[in-house]
């Protein structure tokens, strides 16, 4: 039921679970999580001292653990939780633990389709990644972060290749940090790494690397660009190509570089969070045109309107024509679309969700502790005790609302006009 078209899109309400009852049944209920299709809600629940399990739609997993955390539904609706049982951690999927056990598990991550489950692991004081129940054969002095390739078959982490004693500044200055892919470390080490990402065919990995003070660049499969910059942010492969784009700092200002050379002809006080259009060659990024004046630039052209506090990562519409972003001014949030901010302001707003044809935007928003959906800047009629981001039906006419109201979790399908 991972295909949105297969979900139940009949308008109406479905009460999935009486979550208030969970709070009566268990002394401690952790945070709720729900599936994309809205059919399931789950939480870690504690039955007593070190007797922890998972409750999903009111049913308990058969597994009882001493500790559990980071409970998540994968994009294909499997329920996954790192659990500690008899002093060993493992990953439990839909109530069944993986055979492998670890000293610790963290950074639970999924491939885009949800078929692959990965996490950082520590075993016998060595670090690596486990992917679908099998950990890397080579492990490292330390590993931080998990990136899963688009096809779900590969993983990368930032690793420390040898132990360095505290205060051994000279060894560290030589570089002991690099990227390991599927357990294999790049040949070259660096002072630091910023942002790892796979190419869309899952074959290449790019990362921002630090060679020395004021000497930053991008390394692809371990090989740095020839040109260096005084600073750099996370590199990304352009989808469907091996072209790598990264924000770079030159003479005190930021611009966008491709494969080691600047490609935008203007520069900014700041530039980060660049995103690719799904249909064209266009790139949008967050920029500060002046100190404290933030906006989005599309192919180096900033929107006319700027925002004082912050602008978050831009989101392209599926047809690539429109760009929206969360913007913040005077400590209030809203959405700006193609340079125009909605009039409504919120205490918090979540990422803009475009309808399939790009004409509509729906968001989860919050004011004074009440959650609601806003469509194209208009707050919905109903408010909820809690809410997950809205999802459009494939025809764009309906919205799936996953909400908690009066102690019950509902899955609601509403025509957009009726939100």
């Amino acid at each position: 039921m991972n295909d949105v078209a297969d979900w139940d899109w009949a308008p109406g309400d479905k009460c999935i679970a009486d979550v208030a009852d969970w709070k009566r049944r268990f002394p401690v209920v952790h945070e709720y999580t729900v599936t994309n299709d809205g059919e399931k809600i789950a939480a870690i629940v504690e039955q007593g001292n070190k007797a922890v399990t998972v409750c999903v739609n009111g049913e308990l997993w058969p597994v009882v653990a001493e500790r559990a955390w980071s409970l998540k539904f994968s994009p294909d609706n499997r329920l996954v939780c790192p659990m500690l049982r008899e002093y060993e951690w493992s990953i439990v999927v839909d109530g069944s633990p993986w055979e492998e056990t670890y000293d610790y598990v963290w950074n639970l991550t999924f491939s885009a389709d949800g078929k692959s489950i990965a996490a950082n692991i520590k075993k016998d004081n060595e670090f690596g990644i486990c992917l679908n129940g099998r950990s890397w054969e080579t492990r490292f002095t330390e590993a931080r972060d998990v990136v899963v390739s688009p096809d779900g078959s590969r993983t990368a982490s930032m690793v420390k290749v040898r132990r360095v004693a505290t205060l051994d500044i000279f060894s560290f200055a030589e570089g002991v940090i690099t990227v390991a892919v599927d357990g294999e470390a790049w040949e070259r080490n660096f002072l630091s790494i910023w942002g790892m990402s796979f190419s869309s065919d899952s074959r290449m990995v790019a990362a921002g690397v630090n060679l020395d003070r004021l000497t930053y660049t991008v390394a692809i499969n371990g090989v740095p660009w020839e040109r260096t910059f005084s600073h750099i942010w996370e590199p990304l492969f352009k989808p469907g190509s091996y072209d790598v784009f990264a924000p770079v700092k030159i003479d005190g200002l930021w611009t966008l570089a491709m494969n080691g050379s600047p490609v935008w002809d203007n520069s900014f006080v700041q530039l980060w969070e660049h995103r690719f259009s799904p249909t064209t060659n266009e790139i949008a990024a967050v920029v500060a045109v002046q100190f404290g004046k933030w906006t989005v630039a599309r192919d180096a052209v900033p929107w006319g309107k700027t925002f004082r506090d912050a602008v978050l990562a831009p989101v392209f519409s599926p047809d690539g024509k429109r760009v929206a972003a969360i913007v913040k001014e005077d400590d209030r949030y809203t959405i700006a679309v193609d340079g125009t901010a909605w009039n409504e302001r919120f205490d918090m707003v979540w990422d803009p969700v475009f309808g399939p044809d790009g004409s509509r935007i729906a968001v989860k928003a919050e004011r004074k502790g009440a959650y609601f959906i806003a469509v194209d800047g208009r707050p919905g009629r109903e408010s909820y005790d809690y809410l997950w981001p809205p999802i459009f039906s494939p025809d764009g006419e309906k919205v799936l609302i996953r909400c908690i109201q009066g102690g019950k979790y509902y899955r609601r399908v509403r025509p957009v006009s009726d939100v």
């Binding site: 980071s70 610790y104 505290t166 004021l214 500060a288």
Partner: protein
């Protein structure tokens, strides 16, 4: 001006690193920073200073070292920035070591002197430039460099492994339940009101401080969280090292964590420099005028809790109590009134310190000096003489210091000067005095921490 007479200190971060410096590299680095990064503001300060010495008495080093003129603020500038400008950066490695010693160890960038300068000249800013230059040349106290490398890799100052952090939080939560029924420390709770951002020491050696914060958050029934991922640590020693690039990476990671968790506010630990990095130096280096998410020091949060009755005081401290006003949060952010308000609510006998509030003396450990390790401890002890005398004069038995650096150095000075007092964080004060609501009490726990 007296010649600079200083005790010899062996520190590989100075002694070894200068061996790799060529005159060309030194000159290029000095010119890069002074001409490309600092130009206009620096020129204004250099052209304006009339060497009047009105700022001398402001400096705790000058006062503590019996008014030795070589510790006067203007002397520090004369021996560093002006020297570099005069010589156009053409100096030898030994001179760089002298610059580094002054910039890193004889100025806490407390900015007290600026308040007494008729032109408001910011000596601290010029010492930051000295640190920037020496940091780029990798000439800096080895302990500080080590922490800078830790930030490059872990975004935390103490090499905290990602699993250690989460494990610590889960352990602290388990321990906390001895005292607070069903206490929670929710990690990664999206949409929480507050993200608490601890000092890395709270994840390693001082987990009791994390437990204290968690206890207060639970008792005040706060909707709070912490990230399980990098960005949780509020410290930023790269700022002190003049490594603006890593400082920016750390702050971006920090605020990205807040945006990812959709929190309304970030509350830093009881720490001065973390606050300064997030609110001023770090944010501004990234292009933000103000921190992009409302950023509070615990002093502000606790003030609100007590004012709004979310924390009730069950039993006041009876011994005389005074405060240390940390420069980063009082002189530079005006939180001294809130600090006093909380202290007075929890203590019977508050003794004001003189001078106080924005005029308060620096503890001599600020700007990373607290972290330089045993070789440099004397510096804090001797440079802090003005501070300890000031505290002793109050007759207080307890000093409330809402800053990790102030707290540690005053504690050490109490030992060094045989002063009859002890130091507490403001969170410790609240944990000792607050009422635990009926529904949170455990059979093991009591109404307040004893």
């Amino acid at each position: 001006m007296a010649r600079m007479q200083r005790r010899t200190v062996a520190d590989l971060g100075f002694d070894e690193t200068i061996k790799n410096l060529s005159p060309d590299k030194i000159a290029r680095t000095i010119r890069y920073v002074l001409e490309k990064e600092a130009a206009a503001r620096l020129k204004a300060y250099v052209d304006t200073c009339i060497h009047c010495g009105l700022c001398n008495e402001a400096c705790h080093f000058y006062v503590s070292y019996d008014r030795d003129p070589s510790y006067a603020p203007v002397a520090k500038v004369r021996q560093t920035i002006w020297d570099m400008i005069e010589k156009k950066g053409k100096v030898d490695p030994e001179t760089v070591k002298t610059y580094a010693r002054i910039g890193f160890t004889e100025c806490n960038i407390c900015r007290r002197c600026s308040m007494y300068c008729p032109f408001g000249i910011d000596i601290g800013y010029m010492m930051i430039l000295v640190r920037r230059i020496c940091g780029l040349l990798k000439v800096a106290p080895s302990y500080l460099q080590d922490q800078g490398y830790s930030h490059m890799y872990t975004y935390s100052q103490s090499w905290v492994a990602q699993d250690d952090w989460v494990d610590t939080v889960q352990f602290v939560e388990e321990e906390l339940r001895m005292n607070i029924k069903n206490a929670r420390i929710p990690l990664d709770k999206e949409g929480a009101e507050i993200m608490y951002s601890p000092h890395s020491l709270e994840a390693k050696f001082k987990t009791n401080l994390l437990a204290n914060i968690a206890k207060i958050m639970n008792v005040a029934r706060v909707d709070w969280t912490m990230p399980s991922f990098d960005g949780w640590d509020s410290t930023n020693q790269s700022m002190h090292l003049g490594d603006h690039e890593t400082m920016g990476m750390v702050e971006r990671m920090h605020f990205s964590a807040g945006f990812r968790l959709k929190v309304k506010k970030i509350v830093t630990s009881e720490c001065g420099h973390s606050f300064r990095a997030a609110v001023y130096d770090g944010s501004r280096s990234l292009g933000w005028k103000e921190p992009p998410i409302t950023y509070l020091q615990p002093t502000q949060l606790f003030f609100e809790f007590v004012r709004d009755g979310r924390i009730r005081i069950a039993r006041k401290i009876e011994e005389p109590v005074t405060v240390q006003d940390p420069c980063s949060i009082v002189r530079n952010r005006g939180l001294g009134g809130m600090l006093r308000s909380v202290v007075k609510a929890a203590c019977e006998d508050f003794r004001e310190v003189d001078p106080c509030l924005e005029h308060n003396y620096c503890c001599a450990a600020g700007s990373g000096v607290i972290n330089y390790g045993p070789p440099w401890k004397f510096l804090r002890m001797e440079g802090g003489r003005a501070k300890i005398r000031q505290l002793q004069a109050t007759g207080a038995k307890i000093v409330i210091a809402p800053c990790h650096s102030c707290h540690k150095t005053i504690e050490e000075m109490i030992d060094y000067y045989k002063a009859d007092m002890h130091v507490m964080f403001i969170s410790e004060l609240l944990v000792k005095t607050m009422e635990i609501p009926e529904d949170m009490r455990t059979p093991e726990g009591k109404g307040s921490d004893q």
